[in-house]
Amino acid sequence: MPKLSLKSIRKWLFNGKKHESKAILPCSPPVPTGIPILSLSCFSQLEILRNLDFFELVQLSLLSAKSRAVVKSILPKSHKIMTINFGRSSNTISVSTNQHIYMGSYEHVDQVLDLFDYPETVLSIGTDRKLNTITEFIEKYKDCVRLIYFTTPVFYPDLVELVNSVKGLEFSMIIEVHGEFSFICTEFEIQINNPHPFFIPHIWRLNFSIVKINDVNLSFLNFADWIYGRFPSGELKQLIVGLEFPEDLDIMMSDAGVTVNNEEWEHPVYGPIDKSYRIRRADNTKEAILFEYCDDFHEMVVMEIESCVHRSLIF
């Protein structure tokens, strides 16, 4: 019987060639690594997909147009509202519906929205993210975005820029950290509720025809400055101030030396107005009529601004 040595074993293993591990040792046939689910019946395919969680379904939907269509077909269409949380990191988001949560990359947000047929969407935003990303998102998904929810303080000049850049779209905005401070934007007007004091100076930079401000008082708005002819020369045509508590406009105007017009006239919206005031910008480019109006619940001051060259105001 030949003596076994390491040399003889190596010779047997490598057939005399060093460092060549050719198929000398028996090896098992390759084990199939996967299951060809597309070869199963449609019913079985759907049963498998229905056992996947939402994260796995989204992952699967990213593989091909066909896989996206299949995933889309099994997701319930009952989701009316989806929340997208823009995380602190610049490229991560979490998406939640009443049943599903997905945490992943921002680059997949379109696929996720598509899976649910672009439902009404709430954006929940931390300020670490650049607002231009949010602006792009709102512009791209203007038919979906209904509410923008800031969970941390916002830099107000940026906020005005954001609102101006998406003007014409209908959505609401809540700045949670400042209590009830919120915006409701429609095509032509913006309604501001409970504005934060630091936001007040920025109101006049809003490029909207109609601005409604609720729950403030006139002194809060630096209204005296307006009365002295410093109201803005921008797009603003109508400012409606819903007073937090009743204020005496007469005393304020009288102190400013503005004379009252007691001649009654008919406003197309507010009906008969029996007392109004007329003010003019220092550069004579704009004129405004001010009057008080009371509906069943609120006392308001309405200011209508017109260009002097286009129309002479009613008096």
Partner: protein, 201 residues
């Protein structure tokens, strides 16, 4: 009850249970015969309706040929009947349509499905074909569990899913494969027409 103890037996093993209950005989496509209790068959809607429609008596079951299941091999059918015997008498679950579906794999089923992917694929196929709702549930759940923690690229490998490009290439190949035959048929048709025949057949 363990997988080994499940009362599915091959006829030639002479281990026929001596019970008064009726045992139906089935034959796989590779000619393996199985005896399955009446109660176990109720787990399969397809087989249950089949045996109901046949209206076999105890004598018929013994004397007539085994019912052939031509689409399923013996190895797969053995697993199917083992599962049915183990779960006989259990209520068939009703689907509530939820996504994700809530399915738990019992220990017996987990052991039964501790098989290679090829056989698991056949088991799903058989469960679907024989309409065994709960077996389909657990086997699909097992396949779904393979996706846990996988990246899209890994999912592609696990489920052998083609990319858009591969889908497109396969579609083109299928069209190309079909066109020559269509051309052949057309040419043959034209030839026959030239020879004076009115009908292609």
């Amino acid at each position: 009850m363990s997988v080994e103890n499940a009362p599915v037996v091959d006829v030639d093993e002479a281990a026929i249970p001596v019970e008064k209950k009726m045992y139906y005989r089935f034959e796989s496509n590779d000619k393996k015969e199985f005896r399955v209790s009446e109660l176990a068959i109720q787990q399969s809607e397809t087989l249950n309706r089949l045996v109901e429609a046949m209206g076999y008596t105890s004598e018929d079951v013994e004397n007539k040929p085994a019912i052939a299941i031509e689409n399923i091999d013996g190895k797969t059918l053995k697993l199917v009947f083992q599962w049915c015997e183990h779960h006989k008498g259990e209520a068939i679950p009703v689907d509530d349509g939820s996504v994700p579906k809530i399915v738990e794999i019992p220990e017996f089923d987990a052991k039964l499905m501790d098989i290679d992917n090829g056989l698991l694929f056949k088991l799903i196929w058989a469960a679907d074909y024989l309409n065994i709702v709960q077996l389909l549930n657990v086997s699909c759940k097992k396949v779904a569990n393979m996706a846990q923690g996988k990246t899209p690229a890994q999912l592609r490998r696990v489920y052998l899913l083609p990319s858009d490009e591969e889908d497109e290439a396969a579609k083109r190949a299928a069209q190309e494969a079909q066109d020559p035959r269509a051309r052949e048929v057309e040419e043959e048709f034209e030839e026959r027409k030239r020879q004076g025949g009115n009908s292609f057949f």
